[in-house]
Structures are given as C-alpha cells and as structure tokens.
Symmetry: C2
Subunit: 492 residues, 2 copies
C-alpha cells in the first residue's frame, strides 16, 4: 500500500512558487464560499513521524485565511480531557458550519499508537476504529465535509527528517512519551498504518494517501486535494434532490408498551417518608463513593408534561453534595449549538469523572419532540437511535454509569395536573399553550416513546419506565433504581 | 431492547382477514412495480427460534406473486458451500434487479450461533459483523433495497411454540446440530441478539424489530414494513438528483510508480529455459500440495495490451494438473451478470478449496477500463477500492492465497508488438481498433494503475509489478513469485 508512495515525486522550486500562488487564490475563494454554506470543513492531517505534518499545517494556514480556520493539536493531554470520554476532546473542538478545523493529531492517534506499542489487542483496535467510523458517520450525516490526509515517507527520509528536526526546529517535544528514534519501529508503523487505513477508509470519508518525500509536492498535492473536495461538494450540493416526502409507517396495532404500565401503584405518606430518607442517605454515600472511584453518573429524565420530572429530580439532587453534580435543563438550542451537530450540546455539558450530570430532558428530544413536531426529518431521527446508542456506549465504555427514566402518567392524570396549574397562581407559569398542543398529540407521542424505548434500551444503558400517577411512588422508584445501579457498578 | 416486544400486541381474526386482503393487493402492485425497477428487494427473516420465521415466509409467498420471489434457506450446508468463502453462498443467491429474494437463515446466522455456542470470541464476532456490514454496504451502493426483520418472542411463547412444533409440524430438523430445548439458553440468546442488532443496525439497512407473540400481528406488521419500504424507495427515487458532473483531481506530479520500473531487465534464452523448467516443476508440486491442504490459489493477471499476459499464463497453467485449475477470461458482462452487482461475476467463478482460479483480467477492470472509459461513475470506481479490498480479505481469511500481477511494458515496446501483430497473419486477430484507442490514453491509464496499486496492494494481497519488455524475464518472475507465495503460505 505504501511502496508506491516512495517513487520520488517532486515539484521544483519555480514551479512550486507559481502553482502555490494560483492554489492560494483558489483556496481563498473556496473558503469565502464555504462561509456561506451550512456545513464545516474538517481536515485531518495524519501520517508517519517525520513526514512534515506540522509544516503542511503551517502551509494550509498560509494559503487560507486564518480567520475561519482553527488548528487543533492534541500533543499534550489535559486532565480535563483524560477525565472525559475519549471523543469529548474532539467534540468540543468541532468547527461551526461555514468554518474549517484542522486536526493535527486527531482521533486516529490513539488506536495507532496503542497498537504500535502493543498496549491494546486487535479486538480493542477494531473497536476503536468502529468508534471512529461512527463518529465520522455522525458528522457526515450532519453535513460535514471531511478530508483525511495520510502523509507517507520512506524509512530513509524519516530518519533524516527526525535527526534534522531534533536539535533545532523542535521547540516542544511533540509526543513526550515517544523517543525520536523510530528506526526499530518503521516496519511495524507501516503495518499498523495499513490496518488503520483499511479499517477506516469509507466512500464518504476516504483516506488520501500522499507521498511526502518532497515538501513541495506534498503541499501542492494536499492543497489541491482540499480545494478539489470543496469544489466537488459545491457541485454535488447544486444537484441535490429536494427532500422526499416521508410518510411514516403507522403502527400495525394500537397496543403500546406504556399501555402495559400499572399506574395504580402508590405509596402512603408515612411509608414514603421513611423510604425517602432511607434512599437519600444511601444515595449520598454512593455519590461520594462514585467520586472516590472516579466514576461519573449520567442520569436522564424524560416524561410527559406534568409527570413530575422537576420534583423528582429535586429529591435526587437533595441527596447529593452540590460540588458533585451538575443539573442541566434543555430548552431551545443556542446559535452556537445550532451551528453544530445536535449531540454537541450534550457532549459539552458532561461533567468530569467522579461527578454526576443530571439531564432534565436530553438528547432523546431528537426522537420525541423533534420527530413528532417535524423539527427533524425522518432520516434524521431514524438514524438518531444508532447515534444515541453509540454515544451512550462511549459513556459506558469510559466508565460512566448511565441511567434513564421515563415518567409515565395517564392522560387523565395529566389533565388534572394541568387544571391544577391553571388554578394555582404560583404554578400558572408552568402551563403553556404548547403543553395543551402536545397533549392533543398524545397517541403520536406514545408511539414515539415506544420506538425510543425499544430502540435505545440496551443492556448497558437500560430505560426505566416509572409509573408516576402517584408522585411519591415515582420518586422512591427513581431513588431506589439509581442506588441499585450505582451499587452494582461500583466496587465495594 | 426486547422487553418492549413482549406487550401482547394482537390482531383478531376478522380484522386480520380484512387487512390481509388489502395488504395482499398492495404488495402485489408494489411487486409489479418492482419488476420495472433496476434494483432487487432482499428480505432477511431472522429472530429467535419459535418466533415463526418459517410461517412468515409462507405468508409472504402467499401475499406476493411467487414468480419473482426466491426463498433461500441455509439449514443444511453443502460441501460446495463449505469449501468456498462464507459469503459465496449468499452471492450466488442474490436476486437480479427487479426481483425479490427472501433469506431465511441469512448471513446473520453464523456470527449469532457461533457466539451463542462460545465457538468464537468477541473479536471474531465483531469481525464477522463488519464483514456483514461491508457486504450489505456493497449491495446497497449497487442499489439493492434490504429489509431486515427481527422476530422476537417471550421465553414462555418460545417454549410453547417449540414443544408444539416438535412432534408433528417439523418434517425436517431445522438446525440439525441444535436441540429444540433452548430453555437454558434464552437469556443468552437475547444478549447475543442485542449485540448483533446493535452492531449491524445502519441507517441504510436498519433492523425492524417485530413482536411475534401473535402470528396475525406479526404477519401484518412485517407485510406492512415490506410494503412501506418498497413505497418509500419509489418516492425517494422520484426525487433523486441528476448525476453530478464529476471532475477528477489531476495528479499533482507526472511521476508514477510504473515510471520507476526497470524495463531493461532481461534473460538469455539458455538461462530462461533452465529456470522455466525448474520453476514449473516446483509449481507442479506446490499446486498438489495446496490441493492436499485444501488451500485455493487465486491468481490475477492484469497489464497493458500486448504485455504478454496470455503467454505468461500459459507458462503457469502448463505446470498445473488441469483438474486443479480453472482459467477465466473476461470480456463484456452477460445479461445475467449485468443484472447484479459487478463483483457477482467474479464470485461465481471461484473454484473450490484446493483448486486454483486464474483470472485473465479481473475485478480490477472496475478501476481501470471502467474508470478511464467512464463506464463506471466516479463514485462507483472510487468505492470499488474498498469493495475489492474487502473481497480479497474474505478470500484470504477463508484460506485462499491471492496473487496479483501487473505486466508492465513501455509504450515503444507496445507499439512494436502492435505492428508485429498487424504484420503477421496468425496474430492479426489479436489487434483491434480498441487497442489503438486505449494506447492513446496511456497516461490516463497509467495514473489509474498507480491509484489501483496504491489502494489495493495490501499485505494480505500484494501487487507484483512485472517488468515485461522481455517476455522471458517476465514469465520467470511470475512463476517464481507464485512459487514463493505458495511456499510461504503452505505448511511444510
């Protein structure tokens, strides 16, 4: 795969100057055009040590307008990064639509280096490559244009480069834990590189293999690849089809999962008070224990309007040290959020290891309100099930404990609560026209909930459907369930 | 994931009769329409034992016109199937465009059963799921509509079904090696099922999870899913975009891999004769050894017109027992071949384990002549690199030895050989107008060859570029290389 990238392709000085000038102008124009588009450009610069990745990034910044380009490097890992799931560091660096991000040392670094150092086995390597594919898939489905450059140099050139770089040019050690002398490793690097490229080369985000022996050729070639990608995308968009009218398959039966829930379950006040203090005490201890063990809790609360999410969450947070949790409520996305993938706003809220993040409404809005109200296209909410499963899998694989509650009440109970809100002055703000409108779509929502639970209740992140006609019963069930999940996940 | 498929959704007898009638008519109409389309429908029926997969297949056949539907089962494995790579059995059952194939016991059976029986580990399971994704990807990219049905039943219903089925209904044992009593295994089956569904659920070929407790509900639900998939596809096609004009990025330098080849290499006649008999003898032994060890050889010959492929192949086959090899030449595809994925015609030619298949021209036509002449769209030949790598990986993983030769000559040498062909009566048939036309596109072809070798020369199936200005030298190199690859792959 790489032998044919060692044939000495060169571009001479004068020719380079001339082509560089022309290329620069075209890239600038393409970048201006990108600013008007609703997708970002993501450039990944990867390849062997000594191939001049840093130089190339300089060149791209020189050719394009540095405003509108962010260069992200990941040489040094912050403890912030280390104490979040792996992809968190990349999610937070994603460019908004219309802008460009260069990733020097990208999501590809980890699997490559770990396999090279034999710190992971083939299974883990393949798993990490799959996570990468899922990550890129989500970005591409959201519109992103991804250009992946793989720079190759021969063993001889690598040696020469590294020796030349070492004393003077390198101000910072690039990968602190790795010595410059890669000589014993060259062959193995190539093997790992081939595995990596084969495992992550897809039609939508293909690898571009670039001979980097000659820096002129390397830069011109990469610049043209980027330009070409931008131009092709514009051409493709020009012939994009109108959105097909999507008609959803109505359910073959009106029976639903929620229809099975026993809503008569209730607790007496005395029993409730006893259990409440018992489970709150237990939760308090468990949350500290999770902190000590550096495990984070991710608790998601969804449910019908007026199902009692807020008051249930208060019973949970009351048992937690305020330093240890972060409660996030979601309303309409901000401009910054709208300029990115819909999961970005949830990734950015995740607390560090050892702390709890409590989501009052969550990413499930994608397959509930956005689906029902048509804010998301059918293709968007349909693929969201897999995206969400992947997202939660990353949390769990990182060590987070994910717990998800659907608070279920009957339509009658909801009506009673709506009326009560309207009639009590201090609760009037909690009831809006929208609540009444949502209520009219009960059946449609119920089927959306059904699909959501079927599709996203996985063994690593199961849904708990909580009968909530009786608030006391619901609160105790939730506390009990969180305690049980923490207990089974934490070491004694 | 499966708990919400146990809520007792039912459809009563009268309602079933009524809906069944309507559904049948709509399915028939959709099927008639499908016959005019340029893609096939592939239905996968999978799920737990006792969920009524067989019954459902009967129902589909009853609802649709059995002409134009083929039902494929894989209960019993033929030795033909066992002695080919796993996917061979499915490739040969792929329906032509406009028709339908039902797969009962599909490509999903193997990873599920092997993991259930702990005969493979997680790594192998994930690998097999990746192969499945690549296989389905290739079919979908080629246009296929895939509907994947997963039928779920509760433990209780499964037990009841299996006991009911066992004595009377089952004429043939369905999975001979598996006992009917699955009771100890139910929980584990679900776990494996969840892993399988999560790993292979993609936006383009999503799993449809179906509650199969009630056979009426099950059949209506599945029928509607199939109908809906057909209808949506037609709607989507109606708004399909015109093909974008694809402009290829010209190479940044005119230097090529082939430009590096030393074409002066030659052999004296005496040396040649000696070496020829030496390597032919060695090859003869090795081919028998491969037969004994049940390893198959796949040898691909590509090269410039008049590079001497034919005469080189003759030197190879002469060393092989005719019972042990199959030489295939490729011209234009037949109608049957055109009605299917382009790789189908190569899959069908593969010899059984222990035998050699020699390809005089091959699947690489996709990225050579089809690319250069515009017979394949850019998106098609670009994704072909990954498809071909996947195809060859399946061969190698199955135990085949894959060897690929590009016979390289200079333009001058080609001209001399063309002239010679024109001037000698017995060779005139070998030179056509097309050869001269191809010759005019030498540079374009050269870059296509460059890309092909870079993209598809993998460590498991490397390309050998053979300097062939001197035919004797080329033949010896080829024989030597095949011997070396066989020697290193076979056990002593």
């Amino acid at each position: 795969m790489f032998k044919s990238l060692e044939i000495g392709r060169r571009i001479k000085g004068d020719e380079f100057d001339e082509r560089s000038l022309a290329l620069r102008e075209q890239l600038m124009r393409a970048q201006l055009d990108l600013a008007k588009r609703d997708y970002p450009l993501i450039i990944i610069v990867a390849g062997l040590d000594g191939a001049g990745k840093g130089e190339l990034v300089h060149r791209i910044n020189e050719w394009m307008d540095p405003r509108g380009i962010a260069t992200n490097t990941f040489w040094e890992h912050s403890d912030e990064e280390e104490s979040h799931p792996y992809f968190w560091r990349f999610w937070r660096k994603l460019p908004p639509r219309g802008e460009t991000a260069i990733f020097l040392g990208s999501w590809y670094a980890r699997p490559a280096l770990l396999l090279l150092d034999k710190k992971i086995d083939e299974l883990e390597f393949i798993r990490q490559c799959q996570d990468i594919l899922a990550f890129e898939r989500a970005l591409i489905d959201d519109g992103a244009l991804i250009v992946k450059l793989w720079l190759h140099v021969s063993k001889k050139t690598q040696q020469a480069q590294l020796e030349e770089d070492a004393p003077n040019k390198q101000q910072i050690r690039r990968i602190p834990e790795r010595p410059y002398d890669m000589s014993g490793n060259y062959k193995r690097s190539l093997k790992v590189a081939e595995e990596l490229v084969l495992a992550t080369d897809t039609p939508d985000s293909p690898w571009q293999l670039v001979e980097a022996e000659d820096r002129h050729y390397r830069d011109i070639n990469c610049g043209e690849i980027i330009l070409h990608a931008l131009q092709r995308r514009i051409e493709a968009d020009d012939v994009a089809p109108p959105e097909p009218t999507e008609t959803e398959l109505p359910p073959a039966s009106q029976q639903t999962l929620l229809g099975q829930v026993d809503l008569d379950l209730a607790l007496e006040r005395d029993v409730y008070k006893n259990k409440l203090s018992k489970y709150q005490l237990r939760l308090q201890d468990l949350v500290w224990k999770a902190y000590e063990q550096r495990r984070s809790l991710v608790a998601v609360f969804e449910g019908w309007d007026a199902a009692g999410k807020g008051s249930a969450i208060r019973r949970v947070t009351r048992a937690m040290d305020p330093r240890l949790f972060h409660l996030v409520q979601f309303a309409a996305p901000t401009d910054e959020e709208k300029a990115r993938h819909y999961l970005w706003r949830f990734w950015r809220q995740l607390e560090r290891d050892g702390r709890a993040t409590i989501f009052d409404r969550s990413w499930y809005g994608r397959v509930l309100v956005e689906r029902v109200e048509g804010f998301a296209r059918e293709s968007e909410w349909r693929r969201a099930y897999a995206e969400i499963n992947q997202f939660e899998a990353e949390l769990v694989n990182h060590g987070s404990i994910v717990t998800k509650f659907w608070l279920h009440i009957s339509p009658d109970e909801q009506l009673a609560r709506f009326r009560e809100r309207e009639n009590s002055p201090h609760k009037q703000h909690k009831i809006t026209e929208e609540d009444w409108r949502n209520r009219d779509k009960w059946d449609v929502y119920e089927h959306a909930v059904d699909d959501m639970i079927t599709r996203t209740s996985t063994s690593r992140a199961p849904w708990q459907v909580i009968p909530a006609n009786d608030k006391r019963y619901a609160r105790i069930q939730i506390l009990k369930s969180i305690c049980a999940q923490l207990e089974s996940a934490l070491d004694d």
